[in-house]
Amino acid sequence: MEFLSGILEYGFLQKALLTSVMVGMISGIIGCFIILRGMALMGDAISHAVLPGVALSYMLGVNFFFGAVVTGVLTALGIGYVSQNSRIKNDSAIGIVFTSFFAVGIILITFAKSSTDLYHILFGNVLAVRASDMWITLIIGIVIVAVVYLFYKELLVSSFDPVMSAAYGLPGRLIHYLLMTLLTLVTVASLQTVGIILVVAMLITPASTAYLLTNRLWVMIYLAAGFGALSAVVGLYFSVKYNLASGAAIVLASAVWFILALAFSPKQGVLWRHFRSRRKKAALKGL
């Protein structure tokens, strides 16, 4: 109840709640495509690689949105280039490129002499969300929902069967870089709520929870958005009530849904699987 009255009373809590719910939803939506395409590590990479962009924007006095998008997309291109033009495997290419970008970011941030901001960028500080951040998040959210809605068909077929979709003329590489751009946008939107380090959790965990619960992509997308939003609300509640780091609280909330799904999902749940196989063994004992 305190939480509810707090939200009604304090503007910063309203902004925090709205922003983190939006971030939870859009990272859940994009996360579905990230995990289905086996690009979880790529999500981690892009989220780290926006740091130099954020630092540069900070030094130049422009909105960090622009710098983050530029370095995010550059990272995606760099990883693609290294893994396609050398014998370096994809996961190593990701590791090399994103850590380099991240390191550049750390050095730039120290030049900018703003260690408190570095801390907030890395770990998020949802209670310091400004109105302008909320609007940026809303715009990013609208863009992402619109793109996924309009190109749902193409995203579905190119994620499921990339060879067939290329055979009928879908530009696989373009779709890949479109997704990388959307991923960068999500990361930028999440900077304030969960921070760079934990963005990947919001991308992967709610989507994976949803993945355990359904056999239809559109249901998975709705569920992932739902779990993301729910994690934001519950996480923020505990963060405010017990004075916990907001990003960590949100990520832990999403991990709780995942563990529940892992145990109790009707088809994929380990618990039912265990009981089913035990019953089977017991039934065969009499033979």
């Binding site: 990339p162 055979a167 009928y168 249901v219 998975m220």
Partner: protein
């Protein structure tokens, strides 16, 4: 009805493909006619899948020309249905059997359009054709290999194409499914479609196909199945395996 003309549906002229400078295919030329069913055969690493993929411009070619229905692949993509090897598809993807077949209607729908009732009916009809209509709401990974392959054939049927390209459709497939698939492919051929299949089992090659393209890095022979399936010609492609057999005292 499709017009019964005898202009080649596929013509390949001195095709060269390499991976990072390593030759995969050298100087391959052949033509396919509408109303024919052709197998691409050859030993492992002969470039069978490479040939099919380069026909469809999924991998770049170094040299040569491919004409499909007299035009470039770009112009004729919507008249081609391609079934990749099953191993290239993620079978844990959250998609049901009927929705998998529905994907076949996407190429002709174009951007920003959604499948409507007529497309769903077409998908169901194609699923009936391969005898899988009772499995429509299952997740694709819950099916056996043969059932999956039938579903992907149904998807190709939903593309309402004139050229059907299948890459190793009989790998890990039970005998009954294989029979169903062959029967449907023959039916397509009789409707004047062109069917091209990458195949590795020599024993059935002559029974299944009208024509064969025998590869071993380069074209060994392309022609009617009877003429290609002769020991003297097959041994040219399978020379390496044959020396092994002879050394071990197996007569050929």
């Amino acid at each position: 009805m499709l017009p019964r003309h005898r202009d080649p549906s596929v013509s390949v002229d001195s095709l060269f493909v390499s991976y990072h400078g390593k030759d995969a295919l050298r100087d391959v030329s052949f033509t396919l006619l509408p109303g024919s069913m052709t197998g691409i055969i050859g030993p492992n690493g002969a470039g069978k899948s490479t040939l099919m993929k380069s026909l469809l411009e999924l991998i770049p070619r170094d040299h040569g020309e491919v004409r499909i229905f007299g035009g470039s692949v770009k112009e004729t993509r919507t008249r081609i249905a391609y079934v990749p090897q099953r191993s290239e598809i993620d079978m844990t993807f959250p998609i049901t059997v009927i929705d998998t077949v529905l994907l076949g209607t996407y190429p002709k729908l174009g951007l920003l359009k959604r499948p409507r009732r007529q497309h769903k009916e077409l998908a169901y009809h194609c699923l009936e054709k391969v005898g899988m209509e009772d499995f429509g709401s299952r997740q694709i990974g819950e099916l056996s290999g043969g059932q999956q392959q039938r579903v992907f054939l149904a998807r190709a049927l939903a593309q309402e194409a004139e050229l059907f390209c299948l890459d190793e459709p009989f790998v890990g497939v039970d005998a009954a499914s294989e029979e169903t698939i062959v029967a449907i492919l023959k039916e397509l051929r009789d409707q004047n479609c062109t069917v091209l299949v990458v195949h590795h089992d020599l024993s059935k090659a002559e029974v299944y196909f009208d024509g064969l393209v025998l590869l071993n890095g380069e074209l060994v022979k392309a022609g009617p199945a009877r003429e290609v399936c002769r020991p003297d010609i097959l041994s040219q492609a399978y020379a390496a395996q044959l020396t092994f057999l002879e050394k071990n005292g197996v007569g050929v």
